[in-house]
């Protein structure tokens, strides 16, 4: 092969290029700390909003799933099965390009929150259901025997006890959700992974760019699990 330069030239050329890359690669991260941070903040925002939606929908779906009214439990089970049984990536694409445009004109971030929220809701529903069912049956009987309605029994007796049980799995869900939001980069929501894609495309610094993205994700997930440990310790007392 003839590239138009000698072996020696080629050898020293690549050495210089490699050296430059090492220096320049590091610079990519330093120069774009602001961009990474903005991406991380948006990732956190999408996660928090999704989790909020997921908690509300999940709570409703969990109670719906346990409902004695057939149609309500059927709808809840179908919802949970669909969102747990299909890939989140596909759900994001389906909702952003297919379903949401039929209803309103959503920005990628809005669509991302809706998709992740709906997906998370299905997992939260199962966590909440497990938590409620883990509370001893005698608790419900004691509450009902005092004359409480099913709603009062749930509110004063079952849910406060279930809450303690569901905190660890909910924190886990929070962490999973934060990592899963990386998939919304596919619909150009400018979160952390999308920032990584853009910077990689303009610099080709795979190790530096994706390494930095990993570090940013890790800082966030670590913070959440520390928050979870703290909550658990508080609740234990």
């Amino acid at each position: 092969m003839d590239f138009g330069f000698t072996n020696t030239e080629w050898f020293f050329g690549t050495m210089i290029m490699d050296k430059l890359n090492e220096i320049y690669g590091f610079q990519v991260v330093v120069n774009n700390l602001g961009n990474f941070t903005m991406g991380a903040v948006l990732t956190l925002e999408i996660t928090l909003f999704s989790l909020f939606i997921g908690m509300i929908i999940g709570m409703i779906a969990a109670l719906g799933r346990m409902s004695k009214v057939k149609i309500i439990s059927f709808i809840s089970v179908t919802y949970i099965d669909f969102f747990r049984g299909t890939p989140l990536f596909v759900q994001i694409l389906l909702l952003y390009f297919g379903v949401i445009p039929l209803i309103f004109d959503a920005t990628p971030v809005q669509a991302a929150i809706i998709a992740c929220g709906l997906n998370s809701g299905a997992y939260v529903a199962e966590i909440v259901r497990a938590g409620i069912q883990a509370v001893d049956k005698g608790q419900m009987e004691a509450a009902r025997s005092l004359g409480m309605t099913p709603t009062q029994s749930m509110r004063f007796i079952i849910l406060p006890q279930a809450f303690k049980i569901v905190v660890p799995p909910l924190i886990n869900e929070f962490v999973m959700l934060l990592k899963d939001t990386s998939l919304v980069s596919a619909i150009s929501a400018h979160e952390l992974t999308h920032t990584g894609k853009m910077l990689y495309a303009s610099t080709y610094q795979a190790v530096w760019v994706w390494g930095a993205v990993c570090v940013f994700y890790f800082i966030m997930t670590k913070a959440i699990s520390m928050l979870g440990d703290w909550t658990e310790r508080r609740l234990a007392n």
Partner: protein
């Protein structure tokens, strides 16, 4: 006061109650005895509809508990229940266990409910344990709190479902003592129990149940000293 007519209850194909008929009068203490699996607890749980009977009627002061449109939540307020496993609310202090139902259901104000609750806790001998969580109490103490919790709603009837069966032997006495005081005050009580001494001493009437049938009933003297039914005789010969 309580009338039970032809009560039937099955769990799937297993028939647990095969037609129970009885009357329980006001201020009467009825002790239900019999072997395990005889349907005693199920009978008790049907009275406040923790179990739904398939057939038959239960009337309390003329009001049909078993009617499909009965206001079961209001009826249950007038029936206290004490469980074998206490079922105290572990996330609430003993005082909160006792005040919860009066405050939330009867909309009583907190001070009044707490006054009543302190009085009841004193009555069951736990006046100094109001700020303690159930996990810090012994079994006997838990059961006494459970009794106070049920009494806080001023029930007309108290249902006891084997209240001493899960207690260490040395704690049985303190719970029975509280129940005895309650009986002396004139509370109408239905007590499912294996404590034959209690049934004999405190009970006005004893029901012997076996295989879902109320085999024999009578005063403690009749049942314990002169049982007529061979099943009663066989049972008592094993436990006494």
């Amino acid at each position: 006061m309580i009338v039970v007519k032809n009560l039937h209850k099955s769990f799937d194909k297993l028939e647990v109650l095969k037609g129970i008929d009885c009357h329980i009068h006001q201020k009467e203490v009825v002790c239900v005895i019999g072997p395990s699996g005889s349907g005693k607890s199920t009978f008790l749980r049907c009275i406040n509809r923790l179990e739904e009977a398939q057939q038959g009627q239960i009337l309390i002061d003329g009001e049909e508990v078993t009617a499909p449109n009965a206001d079961i939540n209001r009826i249950r307020q007038e029936m206290g229940m004490v469980f074998q496993l206490f079922n105290l609310f572990p996330h609430k202090t003993t005082l909160q266990n006792v005040t919860l139902a009066p405050i939330q259901i009867k909309k009583m104000n907190r001070e009044e409910a707490e006054d009543i609750a302190i009085g009841l806790l004193r009555k069951v001998g736990l006046g100094d344990k109001d700020n303690v969580y159930p996990s810090q109490l012994s079994g006997g103490q838990k059961q006494r709190v459970a009794i106070a919790r049920a009494l806080a709603m001023h029930p007309k009837v108290m249902l006891f479902d084997e209240p001493t069966s899960s207690l260490d032997p040395e704690m049985v006495g303190e719970v029975l003592e509280v129940m005895k005081d309650l009986a002396l005050e004139g509370m109408t009580m239905i007590v499912v129990t294996h404590e034959m001494g209690f049934a004999r001493e405190v009970g006005h009437r004893v029901f012997f149940m076996d295989e879902g049938i109320l085999m024999e009933q009578g005063t403690p003297t009749q049942i314990f000293d002169n049982p007529q039914n061979p099943r009663t005789q066989a049972f008592l010969s094993k436990v006494l």
